[in-house]
Amino acid sequence: MTLVCRNGRSDSLVLEGRLAGGECVAVTVTDGVVSGIEPAAATTRVLAPAFVDPHVHLRSPGREDEETIASGTAAAAAGGYCAILAMPNTDPIVDSASVLGSLVAAARHDALVPTGFMAAISKGLDGGELTEMAELADAGAVAFTDDGRPVASAGLLRRALQYGAVTGRKLALHCEEPTLARDGQVHEGPVSTELGLAPYPSVAESAMVERDLSLAAYEGRPLHLMHLSAAESVEALEAAQARGVAATAEVTPHHLVLTDEAVRGLDSNVKMNPPLRAEADRAALLSGLRSGAIAAVATDHAPHSREEKAEPFEAAPFGVTGLETAFAALYTHLVGPGLLPLQTLLERMSAGPARALGLPVPAVEVGARANLVLLDLEAEWTVDESGFRSRSANSWLLGERLRGRVLATVADGRVVHA
């Protein structure tokens, strides 16, 4: 398992803030390691283990106009992240050890924040043949996914699960039954009916979630469900977990905050796959996140050029950015109104995703590598197109006023944002 970032001197510093438990402390970092935690004067700033994002599109190689390893990891640093996982649906696709090797090498030069790479499950992401998964695992693949597309063939998914015994890596699955989703654009419901946009029913996701969980149960292998959007998917996940299936899942900030009502304005910055769904779905996702059935918040950060998103809604590509707004969006919309405890949010953005994908769990403790985020919960700011470190600005939050700001991020012992 490989997380890589550019070399640099580990920092020595002192950060003061209130821990999740409530006590205010001064954390001393020496040569990148937490060397002391002392009581400190009361402060409203919050100090927490830095965030981990299991689902990021860095667009490199192929679309460096939209994002690079350097810009994407700078965005991650600004968002409070100390580790991210990049998706393999690039051009070329990360389906061979040579492509993966070149990315790992590039990340050693360019990545501000430790970055791991997922590799494809199927060659060319076409669902036909397995990639050389063992070699890819040796070359540093953190997990395997065909994200952006489902593994349509149940037979192929079964083989990939079985092969996991060799690679020791998890499969991360984009669940979408293609003949049900078809050319679907928005959640099937009153909004799709009224707007005349091709409907993408929630059963297109949940039917696939159920199939994938059945296969995982049958093979006794773990899997990770990406960007859940439907209440029925959460139900299926909880039922499988209760039966002992080693399934984890993630949910995005936009699916936790918005519903398909947001699509009425036909703004392409609320177009993503899976689509925004109904209020009952949103409530189920939130409840799953609260209970822990959904272990992780994942941004599914998907940068797109301004030109692509300026196409009419139906022609615009799926995807929104999220690294730089995730914490503030969820703090403002969920913690602020009392729908989610702050401590739970911090856990689901850090230890939750780290455990789900088998990454080192960030912790504020003496002797640990320093992976810290310092947050100002009182600060208000307006999401502005010009303020992003990301090369793309296709945020669903443009113009919105948010509360909660990342003041500083320490990733693998280095101050990457302050």
Binding site: L195, G196, L197, E307, P312, E314, A315
Partner: protein
């Protein structure tokens, strides 16, 4: 009213005003000076016969300068973006842009990028508001007040912008709508838009007007119905299925013998050609409503 992008942009009063205005325009047989010196731009990114021709003629009857562009043969063909096309053509200061586009939401973007009044002449499967207005006009001419009228819309509602606009427009004026068609072509939860649904063709029996939608061949290919033959047998509008006194409408172009039997289309109960004629007057009324209220700046020598 700044633009006409969707029936949802209109109040009931505005609808009545446009229909009244169309009625008075229908009695005038000379060219009116209303839009002299002003430019109406017709941008058809998707093929159209009756809508594009009637918008063109409507603008000419109001003495506007008219420029009609189709995607084929224009710079759109060469890959120019919609935004660049609109910014370019906006340099001619059009008073109105009439736009048809294969994708929902395109007219909204045009309205954002241009100062002109934008008329949606059909976007994807979303809206076609002037079609709904001309349909209301045709019904009112034939049957009188629209309140309480019962209209049955038959066929492929799922893929029809005509059905969506008409359904909204009928609800706005207090008419009752029943959608009839194969369950695979009725959008899930469409009742929430204020209509009833039925899958048996007998359900058209009560309606004052049977509004027949075009059945597209590609729907059959994507398995929405098993065959056009089965569709025609179950849901085709034949003389036997039309009750005396019932009126029949179709937005065109028709597939004779599929959704509508030629004997009905050409028969005395058909309003199909009246709809085409109404299109001219209603589009004149819409352009006048949008532009006459916003006179061009007078140039003082």
């Amino acid at each position: 009213m700044r633009h006409l992008l969707s029936i949802a942009d209109l109040t009931r009063d505005e609808v009545e005003r446009i229909l009244d205005s169309a009625r008075s325009l229908a009695t005038v047989d000379e060219r009116l000076p209303t839009l002299r010196g002003r430019l109406v731009l017709n941008l058809f990114f998707e093929s159209s016969t009756r809508t594009s021709s009637s918008f063109e003629l409507a603008a000419k009857r109001l003495s506007a300068d008219v420029m009609s562009l189709k995607a084929a043969g224009s710079s759109v063909d060469k890959g120019e973006s919609l935004e660049d096309t609109i910014l370019t053509l906006s340099q001619y200061d059009p008073a109105a842009i009439v736009v048809r586009h294969a994708q929902a939401g395109a007219p909204q973007l045009v309205a954002r990028w241009s100062d002109a009044a934008v008329v949606n002449a059909g976007d994807g499967k979303h809206q076609h508001p002037t079609q709904a207005l001309l349909d209301l006009f045709t019904m009112r001419e034939a049957l009188g007040p629209l309140e309480g009228l019962h209209v049955s819309i038959v066929g492929d509602v799922l893929h029809s912008r005509v059905a969506r606009s008409l359904l909204q427009a009928l609800a706005l004026v207090g008419a009752r709508t029943t959608l009839v068609g194969p369950p695979t072509l009725l959008p899930r939860g469409v009742e929430a838009l204020g209509c009833e649904t039925a899958t048996e063709i007998e359900a058209i029996g009560d309606a004052d007007v049977v509004y027949v939608l075009r059945m597209q061949r590609e729907r059959m290919e994507s398995a929405y119905v098993p065959s056009l033959r089965e569709y025609a047998a179950r849901w085709g509008i034949t003389p036997e299925r039309v009750r005396p006194g019932q009126l029949v409408m179709h937005p065109g172009p028709m597939n004779r013998g599929v959704e509508l039997d030629g004997r009905v289309a050409d028969g005395p109960q058909s309003l199909v050609l009246a709809q085409v004629r109404a299109g001219l007057f209603v589009r004149m009324a819409v352009l006048r409503e949008l532009l006459a209220a916003r006179p061009a700046l007078e140039v003082v020598a």
